[in-house]
């Protein structure tokens, strides 16, 4: 029987590869590979052999040119050894094949800066939004409430009732767009999958620290129109078991953490549609 295969791309400053791979396994992927970027550039590992790409959190190239900028440049220009193609060709082929990409934190920054999100009307590789410095001017590690848009096309959020409680850990997470029309299209098409909200998931908020970075319209996560590509600043892979919750010693919580559902839905989608 065919296997659901996930890949976690690492190297040059990614930091969350181990827990992301762990979440993929718990979520139901039959096989999860942590691949160093050098394995991809050498041609030893090819994206075509996988169904789900995880672009994880970290500080790609130290975020030296702005978060994930150097990696976006690398992916655009780097050639794969022994193959007559650039890595970007493998990536666009992957998207065209209807496969899944989840970018978290630095991975979300990468997707936005490469133009993989929101990619309105399928215009991939055209950047129309960005993630920039938090309004508070500082890196922050704190937990946030994320109200879900249950009408979004995201394939990852099936079964999420009101929202998720997850940690955010970033200095450049303020979502902004190039023009009002982009924001209008994001809202109209329900691409803003999660928004920072109050603890009851009642309404999006611009209030610090509930909204830790000042993102426009409190946007914390974004998907494309197919729902198969999604990026988010908070870390779903960091809450897959109750002991990761900051108040697990005082609250009655289910064994499973809020973030796991995204990986379960990804695995299920792959099994239903791609195998």
């Amino acid at each position: 029987m065919a296997k659901a295969r996930a890949i976690v791309i690492t190297g040059n400053g990614t930091n969350c590869e181990v827990e992301a791979a762990h979440a993929c396994r718990l979520g139901g992927f039959d096989e999860t590979v942590i691949a160093h970027i050098s394995d991809l550039l050498s041609g030893d590992i090819r994206l075509d052999d996988f169904h789900f790409i995880n672009l994880t959190g970290g500080f790609l190239d130290g975020d030296d040119l702005g978060s994930a900028k150097a990696q976006a440049n690398r992916l655009r220009y780097a050639k794969v050894d022994d193959l007559a193609e650039h890595l970007i060709d493998q990536l666009t082929r992957f998207i065209a094949a209807g496969k899944l990409i989840l970018g978290v934190c630095n991975g979300f920054q990468l997707m936005v800066k490469m133009g993989l999100l929101p990619a309105l009307d399928g215009a991939y590789l055209k950047q129309t939004a960005t993630l920039t410095f938090n309004d508070c001017g500082r890196f922050q590690d704190r937990w946030v409430y994320l109200k879900v848009d249950s009408t979004s096309p995201s394939v990852y959020t099936k079964g999420v009732e009101k929202g998720l409680y997850l940690p955010m850990r970033h200095g450049e997470g303020k979502f902004v767009v190039d023009a009002p029309a982009t924001l209008a299209a994001i809202e109209e098409k329900h691409l803003a999958v999660f928004k920072y909200s109050d603890a009851a998931y009642n309404a999006p908020t611009m209030e610090f620290p509930l909204n830790p970075n000042g993102s426009v319209n409190a946007i914390a996560a974004l998907c494309n129109e197919t729902g198969r590509l999604m990026g988010m600043m908070p870390h779903p892979e960091a809450f897959v078991h109750r002991t990761q919750h900051p108040r697990w010693t005082r609250e009655e919580l289910p064994e499973e953490g809020d973030g796991l559902v995204l990986f379960k839905n990804a695995a299920e989608y792959v099994k239903m549609n791609l195998l």
Partner: protein, 996 residues
């Protein structure tokens, strides 16, 4: 020709960086400023086509949604003054390095030798500022003149010049490979001049030992065979200075101490290290017998203990004080990425699982004059916090535990402790992973960063007090990404068995790492001309001792070298063969074909006789303050909660990623609003297991003013009681000692050396006594012995400080306990007795007093109680547990209550007392810092089980958790002595450092 690419924010885009600078100018420099905007500048000194340059500017350098770019056209507008801050030549420019790589991806070719990309930042200031104001802003806030250069222009000058001219901070130099012979056949005075002017930090006695060595006819004959003269080369002298530096050799801890106690009893101690530290571990291991869990102690870069059958834990804590005093950001960043290399370079290498940080600063709000060379404590605070933030976060290692300690004397030198733990498989390719060896014939390989002039004389300069002339080159800036790339590669090379031995390049650079490695097999032959350099112009001695960062040294078997180098290339990591290890008995250094150093291994490592150190203990006597009894202590409690050593450090801690790697179980903050202070951290390093690692620490320098014996005993106890509070097991817990002392060697500059040395002896005595009683083996540690400032007029010595860290295990992390009260109706127990021990307390410090009755530790009793508490925690009987430390019972009650969101009512009449009943007062009961106490809450239905487990120990039920959100304490007279809402208590605790 150099080209300037400028990147500015689009109009209307918020400039968070500029806003922060504006706030800091107002807050710290009290200067009025209307607005600050920033512009990033890339100075590209490379042959690029116009098209390539446009691509670089518009793609990787510019974010088109929020930024605009220009080439050779200034973007600055709408300002009164402009300050551009860039690096001085040779200073690590991480953004420049990344920019260079980005260009190389675009062009598909590497930049040529000598080409480069350099970054700077423009600050556009608007407001009624004078040039003097702006120069002050540049100097005191925007940059550090040691490593950075400034251009200040007003709007007229800017227009006249047509912007800021391109400047290339390139190191100009040509390779001369000069080796000088140093004549040591000179007067004593001249010998000392050579040592002092060369920043060798060698004493006259040491210089004379070297002089004698070179006089030896046998030595001279050997040298002739290598084509060397009778005089030492600069390479040799520098190498000996590094190897023999206090920093590398720990001469004070290895010396012979002549100790006299207060009764006149004399004792000769041959090596404090062997007599106390090593002996502690040896005796504890004997006591543990079959349950000994130590695997590798003292001999490697970090200590190694058993975690379970499959995994071992590695831990090390370092200090980086002197560099942080000169360049707080770079010094601290280098501190954290530097200590990362210790566990990574232990055994065959370990994966890093968490960092810990403890900083000791002077008051950031300090407003008195400071000696010129000292930076303001607030700058040190800001820079250190940011350096460690970048180092830890970018390396993907969670910062799980730490603290901030304040004392005015840390203005003389801040203490920056950085710790890192790792985990390694118990065995690798069939061999124990914590062991390694070198065979003659193995190749010397250096990986990672290139060598520059950065960090030259770091080891020797930190072996002296900080002074006017402390060398600029001792400052380095770490590069976490280069290091991370190297680690990604090396961990894979480790698993494939591609090397036999690994160690880090820290203090002393190659002279130290290869010197020590050569000790493993008996010699080496290394060619410095093969070493990759950042820029030309380094002399051989500089290459040998440079402390340029992000480098590891390895021994690679010749049959594995091709595979090793090929893998390095694939991972984009530089790796260079520099020579080979031998069994010649000589540290043999060449530059090309020419021998530049020929040092017998024995002389290098064993040539130094022990120092002779007098020590005399005269207990200090402080004025005994009159403690006034009050009817209401609520105001005192609030003042304590707001004191720097007790107040919330959340604004700092939130800047550190404490959850990356996904194993976080007990976080730095806990409770109903995620803002109560945890006692210790618990992490799960293996995500599909519930076995946890527990880490905690203790530090209490204030007690040194009374007696360092008790300072040390309390630090150890504080570490262990924090560890026990969250659920750490007493069967598997190891300790690390970090000594930070003021110079204890009697000299003109240090007339009170005998007293300071006696303080050191007493600290060591406590270390042995208390660790042995607690069964804590010491597995690693570090000493930093010259934490003084002296400019000829002012001398500032830090209080002798021990940071004691513990690492251990909790069998099931799901049994961990946090400090916050959980529900109304729970019973509050105080474990341990309280005595009249206000000496050195925060309470007395509030009144500007020290006192004399320092808390004492009774480790036998405490251990028995800790074991019972651990049993109760393991049985799930403990709802919350918090240790009592700074501020005593009153502070612990308040913290527990506001963290949990409920009130507590407590009765001081129920608190168990030790000592004279006459001294039993509300003040002592509330604020005494008696050791070994915990405040625990238990559900009523667990009362009997809890009390039966605790039976036979000192503990008392002192109150209960209440629903109304008020902390109420009844005094001995039956009247209420503290009453305050938890919200106001929390506010008092959170407000002081909220804005930093």
């Amino acid at each position: 020709m150099a080209r300037r690419i400028e990147i500015a924010l689009r109009e209307g885009v918020r400039d968070a960086r500029g806003e922060r600078i504006k706030r800091e100018i107002e807050h710290f420099l009290h200067l009025p400023v209307d607005a600050v905007r920033t512009i990033d500048v890339y100075t590209v000194d490379a042959k690029l086509s116009e098209d390539e340059l446009v691509k670089a500017a518009s793609e990787p350098f510019c974010d088109p949604v929020i930024q605009v770019w220009s080439i050779d056209r200034p973007l600055a507008a709408g300002f009164d003054f402009l300050v551009e801050v860039g690096y001085r030549p040779g200073v690590t420019d991480n953004v420049g390095r990344t920019g260079r790589e980005a260009i190389e991806y675009i062009t598909g070719r590497p930049l040529e030798a000598g080409e480069g990309v350099y970054t700077s930042v423009q600050y556009l200031l608007k407001g009624g500022l004078s040039r003097t104001d702006v120069e002050r802003i540049a100097r005191d806030l925007l940059g550090n003149a040691l490593i950075q250069r400034f251009v200040v222009l007003d709007v007229t000058e800017f227009a006249a010049q047509g912007g800021v001219p391109a400047y290339i901070p390139k190191v100009q130099g040509e390779t001369k490979a000069q080796v000088r012979d140093i004549d040591l056949e000179v007067s004593d005075q001249e010998l000392m001049r050579i040592s002092k002017e060369g920043v060798l930090a060698l004493t006259l006695e040491e210089m004379k030992i070297i002089q004698a060595h070179y006089r030896d006819p046998k030595v001279q004959e050997g040298r002739r065979s290598q084509g060397l003269g009778a005089k030492p080369t600069d390479v040799e002298l520098e190498c000996l200075a590094q190897t023999w530096s206090e920093h590398c050799k720990h001469k004070i801890f290895a010396g012979t101490v002549h100790y006299e106690d207060e009764q006149g009893n004399r004792q000769e101690i041959k090596s404090l290290f062997k007599s106390f530290i090593q002996r502690t571990t040896k005796d504890v291991r004997e006591k543990l017998g079959d349950n000994d869990f130590c695997l590798s102690v003292f001999k490697d870069n970090a200590g190694v203990i058993r975690f379970n059958d499959d995994w071992s834990l590695v831990f090390k804590v370092e200090t980086h004080n002197s560099p942080s005093a000169l360049d707080p950001y770079g010094g601290a960043l280098t501190g954290i990425v530097g200590v990362n290399r210790d566990p990574f370079g232990t055994g065959k290498g370990s994966k890093l699982i968490f960092n810990t940080d403890v900083f000791c600063f002077a008051d950031p709000f300090y407003d008195k004059p400071l000696p010129t060379r000292l930076l303001h404590p607030r700058r040190i605070f800001e820079g250190v916090v940011e350096g460690v933030e970048h180092g830890g976060n970018k390396s993907g290692i969670p910062t799980v535990n730490g603290s901030l300690v304040f004392d005015e004397r840390f203005a003389g030198k801040p203490l920056v402790f950085c710790g890192t733990a790792g985990i390694m498989p118990a065995t690798l390719n069939g061999e124990p992973a914590h062991e390694k060896s070198i065979k003659p014939g193995d190749l010397i390989v250096m990986t990672g960063g290139r060598i520059g002039k950065d960090g030259i004389h770091g080891a020797t300069f930190s072996s002296e007090e900080l002074n006017e002339n402390s060398p600029v080159t001792a400052v380095q800036i770490g590069d976490p990404i280069t290091q991370k790339r190297m680690f990604d590669f090396l961990i894979r090379a480790r698993d494939k068995g591609l090397y036999r031995f690994i160690t880090d390049n820290g203090a002393g650079g190659l002279s130290s790492s290869i010197g020590e490695m050569s000790g493993e097999c008996g010699g080496c032959r290394m060619d410095l001309a093969k070493a990759p350099l950042k820029y030309p112009g380094l002399d051989p001695w500089e290459i040998l001792i440079s402390e340029a960062q992000e480098r590891m040294s390895l021994a690679v078997p010749p049959e594995k070298i091709d595979e090793f180098l090929a893998m390095a290339k694939r991972f984009n990591v530089e790796a260079t063969v520099l020579g080979e290890f031998t069994d010649s008995g000589y540290f043999h250094i060449l530059y090309g074909d020419r021998t530049v150093a020929w040092l017998p291994m024995e002389f290098m490592h064993e040539g130094l006789p022990p120092m002779q150190l007098p020590a005399k203990w005269t207990p200090p006597s402080h004025e005994e303050p009159t403690v006034v009894a009050k009817g209401d202590y609520t105001a005192d409690l609030k003042a304590l909660l707001g004191s720097l050593n007790i107040c919330s450090k959340e604004s700092v801690v939130r800047r550190y990623d404490h959850e990356v790697q996904g194993g976080s179980v007990v976080k730095p903050f806990t409770g109903v609003a995620n803002d109560g202070p945890s006692d210790a951290a618990v992490v799960r390093p293996i995500l599909d297991s519930f076995e946890g690692v527990v880490v905690a620490h203790g530090i209490c320098p204030r007690y040194s003013d009374i007696d360092t014996y008790h300072m040390t005993a309390n630090a150890i106890d504080e570490a262990l009681r924090n560890y026990v509070a969250v659920g750490g097991s007493l069967d598997l817990v190891a300790g690390l000692d970090n000594f930070c002392w003021c110079d204890p060697v009697t000299s003109e500059k240090t007339p009170d050396g005998e007293y300071k040395m006696a303080q050191l002896v007493r600290a060591n005595q406590a270390l042995y006594d208390v660790c042995l009683a607690y069964n804590i083996p010491l597995i690693s540690g570090k000493d930093s012995m010259k934490n003084d400032f002296y400019d000829g007029a002012t001398k500032i010595s830090i209080p002798p400080t021990i940071l004691f860290s513990v690492i251990g295990k909790i069998e099931d992390a799901r049994r961990s306990v946090t400090m916050d009260v959980k529900r109304p109706g729970d019973i509050v127990y105080l474990l341990g007795r309280t005595g009249n021990e206000l000496g050195g307390s925060e309470y007395l410090a509030l009144q500007g007093a020290i006192g004399n009755s320092v808390p004492t530790v009774n480790p036998e009793k405490a251990l028995k109680r800790y074991q019972a508490l651990h049993q109760a925690i393991t049985d799930g009987l403990v709802a919350s547990c918090h240790d009592l430390s700074d501020g005593g019972l009153a502070v612990a009650l308040a913290e527990k209550a506001f963290a949990g969101g409920y009130g507590i009512s407590a009765d001081l009449g129920q608190v168990l007392w030790k000592g004279d009943d006459a001294a039993r007062t509300d003040t002592a009961l509330l604020f005494s810092e008696s050791a070994s106490r915990h405040l625990v809450t238990v559900r009523p239905e667990n009362r009997d089980d809890f009390e039966s487990i605790m039976a036979g120990n000192c503990f008392a039920c002192i109150g209960e958790v209440t629903g109304e959100g008020t902390v109420t304490v009844t005094g001995l007279s039956g009247a209420t002595v503290v009453k305050a809402g938890i919200d106001e208590l929390k506010e008092a605790w959170q407000s002081p450092l909220r804005e930093l």
